[in-house]
């Protein structure tokens, strides 16, 4: 996927002015936050699970090569095949060639974020095939020709009216022209259209929430059932997964599953949690003849053991997006690449290069909510700070900032001078505001006052007011 992370500041400004987007974000409101809260309140074992989940992931990462090999062996023993891809190009080449082998014209797809990472739909289209997204949210944005704006709710930025318009445009050719006013009507029409696609497709591609080393299984979590239809009806099932998804055992996967749905949507478990192991067996009445797993690195081996190592624990629940004040204000597209929100601000620079996304690590107030709700205890603000640190190391600090910091440093070690100057500035600003209590423009702070007023000081500094009050008390006591 082409990135626009470089223009993050401009993207964010546009997002704030986009009334449709702001309406969609308003409708989403605090739904995810409230549901997660309720689910965690009902689970006294949450902290224990969180602790264990972290341990499982760290153990697996410490022996990642062995677990990947064990996984591979088990897939082979169950009649499947494993393919390894270091780069997006290698991954799309493998998948395109597997789909060609299947003589696939139409390829149904379950939701896969790695698929977005590697630009899978574009590659399939370029090879003359038709990828059909089957998750309702992904289907909507495929019709709109847009990337997802949230990792678990890809069409969260679309209002019902926008969806209705899209369906009208694209479904008319199928003879579906009745007006869609309600949510059930929209969902029913999508069900009707996609039902045919599920049945016609020659190959199905799904992601994986987890890979299980001991059994060679891939785990898929959905609510709609689209992933299971994609995995079970076509002749070929291709699973695409990044290498850090592997865990040792079924029991380990269970611990993480207990956290995943609760953190994402507040559900204890999603409607469908499925474990796929190999292709159909000889006596099975349905299921794919071929089962392939494509393991994708795309920068993960670089993160192993370096300062961003903890990011490999991420299970893509989306809780950090839902709780981020920046994400809630601008939505996902402004981030400019596949992954938005705090996890995206950490991952994007690692995957497309810090120089391509220098402003993403700045898109944080460091309020810490993301780290607080992360089920895998990833210290997201620390990782963002690390990016800022690296950026400063690479590019240094601007002269203006250096001068400002140097002057402040000079004053900070001279408290009397500091206080005297602060007093002067406070009085001056108070005088300039003429008692209105706010300032629309302040020299050297144009960036700050561009979109808000500066509250004007009331005429004296805190220390001056304190000293005055203390003096009065002392006088009163005497």
């Amino acid at each position: 996927m082409k990135s626009s992370s470089l223009t993050f500041r401009k993207n964010a400004e546009q997002a704030l002015l986009d009334t449709q987007l702001q309406r969609a974000l308003d409708i989403a409101g605090s739904g995810f936050i409230d549901k997660r809260r309720a689910a965690m309140d009902a689970l006294p074992e949450y902290e224990q699970l969180r602790h264990t989940a972290r341990e499982i992931k760290e153990h697996t990462l410490s022996r990642l090569d062995e677990y990947l090999l064990q996984f591979e062996q088990q897939v082979l023993d169950n009649g499947g095949q494993v393919h390894w891809a270091g780069t997006p190009k290698q991954a799309t080449d493998i998948i395109v060639s597997l789909c060609r082998d299947a003589n696939a014209g139409k390829v149904t797809k379950g939701k896969t974020m790695v698929g977005e990472e590697i630009g899978l739909n574009e590659a399939l289209q370029a090879a003359g095939m038709t990828p059909v997204e089957t998750d309702l949210g992904e289907y909507i944005i495929q019709l709109a020709d847009e990337p997802p704006s949230h990792i678990i709710a890809p069409a969260i930025h679309k209002t019902r009216e926008q969806i209705t318009t899209l369906f009208k445009q694209h479904h008319a050719r199928l003879g579906l022209t009745q007006p869609l006013e309600t949510v059930p009507a929209i969902v029913n029409e999508a069900r009707q259209v996609l039902r045919e696609e599920f049945i016609q497709a020659e190959a199905g591609i799904t992601g994986a929430n987890l890979l299980i080393a001991e059994t060679g299984s891939t785990v898929l979590v959905t609510n709609e059932g689209n992933g299971d239809l994609t995995a079970s009806l076509p002749r070929v099932h291709i699973v695409i997964a990044s290498i850090e998804k592997v865990v040792p055992t079924l029991e380990d996967a269970t611990v993480i599953l207990r956290l995943l749905a609760r953190s994402a949507t507040g559900q204890e478990i999603t409607s469908y949690t499925s474990f796929f192991t190999g292709p159909k067996r000889e006596t099975d009445l349905d299921g794919p003849d071929h089962f392939h797993v494509v393991l994708v690195d795309n920068g993960r081996t670089d993160m192993l053991g370096n300062e961003y190592h903890s990011m490999l624990r991420c299970i893509h629940c989306g809780a950090c997006l839902n709780h981020c004040p920046v994400y809630s204000a601008i939505g996902g597209h402004a981030y400019g690449w596949v992954y938005p929100g705090p996890m995206g601000a950490v991952l994007t620079p690692l995957m497309i290069g810090l120089s391509q996304a220098p402003d993403l690590p700045q898109a944080s107030t460091f309020c810490g909510r993301c780290a607080e709700v992360c089920p895998m205890s990833i210290p997201l603000p620390d990782l963002l700070r690390q990016h800022r640190f690296n950026l400063t190391e690479q590019h240094g600090v601007k002269l203006k900032s250096r001068l400002a910091l140097a002057s402040w440093g000079f004053l900070a070690v001279r408290p009397r001078l500091y206080r005297w100057i602060m007093n002067r500035i406070t009085c001056l600003l108070h005088w300039v505001s003429r008692g209105r209590g706010r300032l629309q423009k302040v020299p050297f702070a144009g960036g700050w006052t561009q979109s808000r007023d500066l509250p004007a000081p009331q005429g004296e500094t805190f220390i001056a007011a304190w000293q005055r009050q203390q003096a009065r008390r002392k006088a009163d006591n005497e």
């Binding site: 995810f32 074992e45 699970l49 153990h59 022996r63 990642l64 090569d65 990947l68 064990q70 062996q73 169950n78 390894w84 891809a85 270091g86 290698q90 309702l136 949210g137 909507i140 069409a155 929209i186 999508a190 069900r191 996609l194 045919e196 001991e214 299984s217 609510n223 059932g225 689209n226 299971d228 239809l229 079970s232 290498i243 040792p248 055992t249 079924l250 029991e251 380990d252 611990v255 207990r258 949507t265 478990i269 409607s271 469908y272 949690t273 474990f275 796929f276 192991t277 190999g278 292709p279 067996r281 006596t283 099975d284 009445l285 349905d286 299921g287 393991l295 690195d297 192993l304 053991g305």
Partner: protein
């Protein structure tokens, strides 16, 4: 893409252990780690009540029967209540094969098509923790049955209700038959919230899910 495989593994090894051995030098001896059960949710009520509460919490419904003779009346009542025709496709199991269908029913045993409205299966297990049904793919239990119909009916024997998810793994390990192609944990009907975060049942899978709990006396 063997080259990619070697590169990825070599990079991991180099980072983790600082060694640059070739692939063949490290033999993997499974199991690397014995399965061990993590923290589990707890509850006060009995397991059947927990199962029912969780199932109803996700828009599933349930009827209780105490012998296989009651399967047909229970299904008839449910389908008539919802105005659903008495046609169904069913999976195979000793219970399902033994049902004496009345002449009102049209019953077929096969995999599902996109046109089937109602399906009857028997669950491998139920999970009290989550209100889930567990279905294993196999010659008697095609996976398409779980996802294509509008109405999903499933018989669950009381003795097959496990407390936690791990109970399913324990049973599968004891049976030593290896895993089937697909294990489906099904918890309520299919749903989506992709249009304005409004929950709507029946996205791509069943719109209704009804459990027939068989308490053998």
């Amino acid at each position: 893409m063997n080259k990619a495989r070697e590169t990825i593994l070599a990079r991991i090894r180099h980072t983790l252990r600082g060694d640059d051995k070739t692939l063949n030098d490290v033999a993997v001896k499974p199991p690397l780690r014995q399965p061990s059960c993590g923290p589990q949710p707890s509850w006060q009520e009995d397991d059947v009540s927990r199962f029912i509460n969780k199932l109803e919490g996700v828009a599933g419904s349930i009827s209780h029967i105490s012998s296989t003779d009651e399967v047909v009346p229970a299904i008839t009542a449910y389908l008539q209540q919802h105005d659903i025709p008495l046609n169904l496709v069913n999976a195979r199991s000793s219970i399902l094969d033994g049902i004496a269908w009345s002449d009102d029913f049209m019953v077929e045993q096969r995999k599902a098509t996109g046109a089937d409205t109602t399906v009857l299966t028997e669950a491998y297990a139920g999970v009290a923790e989550t209100g889930s049904l567990v279905l294993l793919s196999g010659a008697d239990s095609p996976t398409s049955l779980n996802f294509l119909p509008d109405n999903y009916l499933c018989i669950l024997k009381r003795e097959n209700l496990v407390r936690h998810i791990e109970g399913v793994w324990q049973r599968l390990r004891q049976e030593q038959t290896g895993l089937p192609r697909a294990i489906n944990f099904i918890t309520g009907p299919s749903r989506t919230a992709d249009v304005e975060q409004t929950i709507q049942l029946g996205a791509h899978g069943p719109r209704r899910l009804h459990v027939i709990l068989l308490e053998q006396i």
